[in-house]
Amino acid sequence: MSETKAPKKRDIFTDGPIDPTFIAESIAKHATRHDIGAHEIFLGQVRADMADGSGGRSSARTTAIAYTAYRDMANEQMIPIREEAFARWPITCLHVHHSQGIIKAGELCFFVFASSAHRQVAREAVAYVTDEVKKRLPIFGKEVLEDGEHVWKINT
């Protein structure tokens, strides 16, 4: 255990929406890994809700979410989540990306991607990482409404 390397510094944040082409390229990069038999992906897309950000109803539709983050802390908090996922499931790799800035309804803001030999492992790891990121990372979302007002999104 004394020989464990310091975790790599990774930045999960992307400015603006996550481009579907980037997702396709991420999948394609794994073609050389012949030990992988299953890829599991979660994609978060901004909804045009009539919601007030915390479970109630608003009078206007959401047109975009403006995401901000405490970037250094979020990237630090991501390290134990990754370690927990690798400790619990024999996944080959795990990739997490989250948007910063204004993401319009219909655009992608969150991408979680795990690969493993068999499907169940990747599926469980993605579900776990998706939930923990929502719970533990200091990311804030301002829902911009069509009437010019805004509400602050709260994860439940």
């Binding site: 983050a69 802390m73 989250h98 990121v133 929502k134 990372l137 200091p138 990311i139 804030f140 979302g141």
Partner: protein
């Protein structure tokens, strides 16, 4: 450092306040930022959420975090 709803309420994302510990800091912040005491927020010291009262030297990175909304 202030984020999200708290930065909006304070009208800034940076504040300078002197306090000997996090308990006194919370009290000073709640007096300074209107409505903060009725909000749910976390205090992070050097990027770690802190619930107990800890002493501050003045060199720490302090952040006020409203509820998280990632995903």
């Amino acid at each position: 450092m202030l984020f999200g709803l708290i930065a909006e309420k304070a009208g800034t994302d940076r504040l300078t306040i002197s306090a000997p510990d996090t308990g006194a800091l919370r009290q000073a912040l709640e007096e300074r930022i209107e409505g903060l005491s009725s909000l749910s927020y976390a205090l992070a010291v050097d990027r770690k959420i802190t619930h107990e009262n800890i002493e501050l030297s003045g060199s720490e990175e302090i952040a006020l975090l409203p509820p998280f909304a990632g995903g």
